[in-house]
């Protein structure tokens, strides 16, 4: 578990390091766009650390990349289909949960939803810890 945290932190720092050049006064990137960049980096590092084995991590990667490109086209049966997330009727009071987990609306199996949820929560909490550690380190750095 410690290795996973370090990997997630590494991903996040690597992505964050791309921000500095974007903050140059010559580039017209707004503050809100910069914040969005950090936000996307946060979710991206969660997804990269988790790997492609999870529905939520794949959905996050798709969501992040969707902002730049057209919807992913997949060749199915030699015809091109634009793949959209499939809407399914909600089961057993888990609608809210499915909305909150990335890709949750494509998870049909209750057991799988439970697995994905606890996995997602773990990575989310780790991300929060990483970011809090960064914030406090930067804050300390300023005073000494």
């Amino acid at each position: 578990m410690q290795d996973m945290n370090a990997m997630q932190a590494t991903h996040f720092l690597r992505l964050l390091s791309r921000l500095k050049p974007l903050m140059a006064p010559t580039l017209p990137i707004s503050t809100s766009q910069q914040t969005k960049f950090i936000l996307k980096s946060a979710y991206a590092s969660m997804a990269y650390a988790a790997g492609p084995r999870r529905v939520w991590s794949r959905a996050l990667v798709r969501r992040i990349r969707r902002n730049r490109r057209r919807p992913t086209m997949r060749i199915i049966n030699k015809r091109r289909h634009v793949v959209r997330p499939r809407r399914r009727p909600a089961e057993g009071g888990s609608e809210e949960l499915r909305k909150v987990i990335p890709g949750g609306d494509t998870i049909l199996n209750g057991a799988r939803l439970v697995e994905e949820t606890s996995d997602y929560v773990q990575f989310l909490r780790t991300q929060v810890i990483i970011m809090k550690a960064l914030v406090s380190s930067f804050s300390k750095g300023q005073h000494g």
């Binding site: 370090a6 932190a9 590494t10 720092l13 964050l16 390091s17 921000l19 500095k20 903050m23 503050t31 910069q34 914040t35 950090i38 936000l39 946060a42 979710y43 199915i76 089961e91 057993g92 009071g93 888990s94 809210e96 949960l97 909150v100 987990i101 049909l108 199996n109 209750g110 057991a111 799988r112 939803l113 439970v114 949820t117 606890s118 997602y120 929560v121 773990q122 989310l124 909490r125 991300q127 929060v128 990483i130 970011m131 809090k132 550690a133 960064l134 914030v135 380190s137 930067f138 804050s139 750095g141 300023q142």
Partner: protein, 91 residues
């Protein structure tokens, strides 16, 4: 695998009580300890609700921390500070 195959089994589409207690067990290690929860039978919807609330508050935290990080990044002097931070996070 054909994308048109319907989910024929329905043994998984409802969340069963056993799955709820499984989720509860796993999340109990992660969620803040809730008063009066331990040992008592909790309704499925309650657990789902608590989990949703927790996830949403985590999302908000990530939002807030992103803003704070931006403020700090904009004002902090770079290389030595960053090197120290990287070191402390990876050790």
């Amino acid at each position: 695998m054909s994308s048109r195959r319907r989910q024929s089994t329905n043994n998984g589409s409802r969340i069963t009580d056993e799955q709820i207690s499984d989720l509860l067990f796993r999340l109990r290690e992660l969620l803040p300890e809730v008063h009066g929860r331990s040992g008592r039978r909790v309704s499925a919807s309650k657990v789902l609700q608590e989990t949703c609330t927790h996830i949403m508050s985590l999302h908000r935290e990530v939002d807030d921390l992103s803003e704070r990080l931006l403020e700090l990044l904009a004002t902090t002097e770079t290389s030595s500070a960053q090197a120290a931070i990287i070191r402390s996070l990876l050790l």
